[in-house]
């Protein structure tokens, strides 16, 4: 298909925006200025100020001298980009692919391939964009061509016609100034010095000569304008490949209505995903209310799935969060993240349960949807002797342990999160305690095993080593105690309880 691009150049983007907000400024010359190296530099100029000779790049003080009564307004960085993003989002009505012009930061580039006939042709299409933006208060120049580069050039510097027919970008560019190629300032200065005032004076020169004199970037820009080099636009809104829309004849206000809407959208979405072998990982339901507000709920799954009943159950848990207000007129269901799904062969007789069992995955999704994914833990062995670091959180349901579980040394069935200090009577130097007092109860130690010394990992933290003892009291209850470091008298608590054995 023939690619067509539209360039929209906002001639005075910030000035127009300010005039829309404050119409009383129409009679006053004003500029935007931002601090730069300790002085105020002008970044944008209103038409009235421009008429008095004020230009962007001047110092604000100089401009005030040229143009008495000049109003200097503060400029904020990124203001132009934010403004362009909002205008770009509005322009999505003309084409799904809208990008900000990163070179000049004062225009938009639209990929309009296959869009213009909806407005009855390219001329009507451009007229529509121009008049709509003019009605909003923006002065724009538009152009349409086969390449974004050519459209940009014609919109900024073209004098003949904004409509460049298919394949006509070379002729259209010939008479334009080199600035139309989106070149850096040093290259432009060199071109002017050599007497190249129009593109036609150098476009026929051998590429190797041009590269030697002006660099590779110059050739890239030239190629992008002529169409020999591809130029990718970065769209403002990345289109979601799996998306469903459901406009409603009457505003939806009830839970039943929302449930029916979700089921309908899920059915068609899952059917599409099934034929393409994909499964949903994250889903976002956007509800557009008639008062203009937008409500969103999102779900996530542990494994890719295209089962309507399961996904519906996950959404059902969150329907409470949708406030329909006066009613919802449009539902949009997006699947921003999809993964390939293996369609399991139906097994009738063999039942092989395991971690990746479908019902287990569903359970995890349900819990993560209702309470949150942070409550679900699974542990894998870590290559670490320090008890607090002996287990590792698994990242996914199917992750397999990298090392085996250590079983050489006994470990308590219950481990305290923080070791509790205890009072102990023990023989020096390394005998197990004769008795210990924990929570006010005295435990007479009858049997003991140990010590097992565990050193701290000095590259992770500093402190004393621990000597662990496994002890059993006269009632048969078993504990895991440790002495922290050697006896040297400067530490208040030496002994701690760290766990209970079965």
């Amino acid at each position: 298909m023939q690619r067509r691009f539209v360039s929209i150049w906002f001639r005075q983007l910030l000035a127009d925006w300010q005039l829309i907000r404050r119409p009383e400024l129409a009679a006053v010359p004003f500029v935007f200025a931002a601090p730069d190296h300790g002085r105020m530099m002008i970044t944008a100029v209103s038409p009235l100020a421009f008429g008095s000779g004020v230009e962007a790049g001047m110092r604000a003080a100089d401009a005030k001298a040229i143009c008495p009564g000049l109003e200097v307004l503060d400029d904020k960085p990124e203001r132009a980009r934010n403004l362009l993003r909002r205008l770009g989002e509005w322009c999505v009505r003309y084409s799904p692919i809208v990008a900000i012009d990163e070179f000049g930061m004062d225009g938009l580039l639209l990929d309009v391939s296959g869009c213009t006939h909806l407005w009855g042709g390219e001329r009507e299409y451009l007229k529509e964009i121009f008049s709509r933006l003019k009605y909003k208060g923006y002065t724009v120049r538009v152009a349409i061509a086969d390449t974004p580069g050519a459209a940009w050039a014609v919109s900024h510097y073209g004098k003949v016609t904004p409509l460049i027919p298919a394949g006509g970008q070379s002729e259209a560019l010939l008479g334009l100034v080199p600035e139309a190629l989106r070149l850096e300032q040093p290259v432009l200065v060199r071109l002017r010095k050599l007497g190249f005032y129009q593109i036609k004076s150098f476009v026929a020169m051998p590429r190797s000569v041009l590269r030697r004199r002006f660099g590779g970037d110059f050739l890239l820009r030239l190629g992008q304008a002529l169409g020999s080099e591809a130029e990718a636009l970065v769209p403002l809104q990345v289109p979601v490949p799996f998306s469903e829309r459901l406009p409603c004849m009457e505003p939806i206000r009830t839970r039943t209505g929302i449930e029916i809407a979700i089921t309908n959208m899920l059915e068609s979405l899952c059917k599409r995903m099934q034929t393409e072998g994909k499964g949903l990982r994250t889903g976002v339901l956007t509800s557009h209310r008639i008062d203009g507000k937008v409500v969103q709920i999102a779900i996530g799954t542990s494994g890719a799935t295209h089962s309507v009943s399961h996904l519906f159950k996950l959404f059902q848990l969150k329907i409470d969060q949708i406030r329909p207000g006066l009613g919802i007129e449009l539902f949009v269901l997006d699947a921003p993240k999809v993964d390939p799904v293996e369609v399991p062969q139906e097994e009738m007789w063999t039942l092989r349960p395991g971690m990746d069992d479908q019902s287990v995955i569903r359970l995890l999704d349900t819990v993560a949807g209702k309470i949150g994914p942070q409550v679900i833990h699974r542990y894998l062995p870590a290559t670490c002797y320090w008890p607090e670091r002996a287990v590792l959180q698994a990242r996914s349901v199917t992750e397999k342990p990298a090392s085996r579980w250590r079983m050489e040394k006994p470990r308590p069935t219950e481990l305290l999160k923080r070791p509790d200090p205890i009072e102990v009577m023990a023989l020096i130097p390394d005998h197990p305690p004769a008795f210990f007092i924990y929570m006010g109860v005295r435990h007479q130690v009858v049997k003991a095993d140990g010590p097992e010394r565990i050193e701290r990992e000095w590259w992770l933290d500093s402190g004393e080593h621990r000597d662990y003892y496994q002890v059993e009291d006269d009632q048969g209850r078993r504990y895991w105690l440790f002495r922290s470091g050697h006896y040297n008298g400067d530490q208040k608590y030496k002994w701690f309880i760290h766990g209970f054995f079965a």
């Binding site: 349960p353 819990v367 409550v375 209850r477 078993r478 079965a502």
Partner: protein
């Protein structure tokens, strides 16, 4: 003699039926490695489609119950199925489960904030047929809640273990079996110093259609082993059954 025995067995089965006990449909007489203890359950089969309740008041008791349950899980999870462990203040150390022949990575822990969430997760997990068992640490469980869980268990066939911390309302649930596991002094061969295998006083306070009793068990590395020559067995069995000790009627 044989004829008499047959009649007695037949009568026992009939009595079970009259008492309202339904043999589990399609259930094979699987062993869970508890040895003699399994004989006290109706039909001599450990009920898998049931709620097993463990009374744990002291942290030492709960550690012993954890160990005992882990030993049962080793058999229940033999086919590769996963297990869910629900609780609000879990202290179980996953690494220790490997000494009870359980692969700790096959246990999914759900550490929720409130008792209500723990109950909800328990019910959802019990509905999930791909699981072998669900262990829940709850502070209290009312009759209505336990009945609700029982209905789910009967539907799905997942074994439910409930660790309860409140001993006060012990009689008011529909659990099939109520256990109390308390640690006992270990024994070593020939009086060697040090600690032996973990040993417990296993008290079955209540078994529906079965005979409650008290046993001494230890986990002998590979499986449960009944300790017959334990000196205090008799004394404990006769005098110190926990329920009587507390002077309470167990339903």
């Amino acid at each position: 003699m044989d004829a008499k025995k047959e009649i007695v067995i037949k009568l026992q089965q009939d009595i079970l039926l009259w008492q309202g006990f339904k043999p589990q449909a399609g259930a094979r007489a699987e062993r869970v490695g508890l040895g003699e203890i399994e004989q006290v359950f109706p039909g001599g089969v450990f009920p898998k489609r049931a709620i097993h309740e463990f009374i744990t008041v002291l942290p030492e008791d709960s550690a012993a119950s954890d160990g005992f349950i882990a030993g049962l899980l080793a058999v229940l999870m033999e086919d590769g199925a996963a297990c869910v462990w629900v609780g609000t203040s879990r202290r179980l150390f996953p690494a220790s489960l490997s000494s009870f022949n359980v692969e700790p990575e096959r246990i999914i822990f759900m550490d929720v904030q409130t008792e209500k969430e723990a109950l909800w997760v328990t019910e959802e997990a019990l509905k999930c047929q791909g699981l072998a068992a669900v262990v829940s640490e709850l502070n209290n469980l009312s009759l209505i809640e336990s009945r609700r869980l029982q209905l789910v268990v009967e539907e799905s066939g997942v074994t439910s273990f409930i660790l309860r911390k409140d001993a006060g309302k012990a009689a008011s649930t529909v659990a099939t079996a109520r256990w109390k596991i308390s640690p006992l002094p270990t024994g070593t061969a020939d009086g060697m110093p040090g600690l032996g295998f973990p040993r417990w006083q296993v008290e079955l306070l209540k078994v529906r259609n079965g005979k409650p009793g008290s046993f001494v068990l230890e986990w002998a590395g590979e499986g449960f082993q009944e300790v017959s020559d334990y000196a205090a067995v008799k004394k404990l069995a006769s005098g110190m059954v926990w329920a009587e000790h507390e002077g309470r009627q167990i339903g």
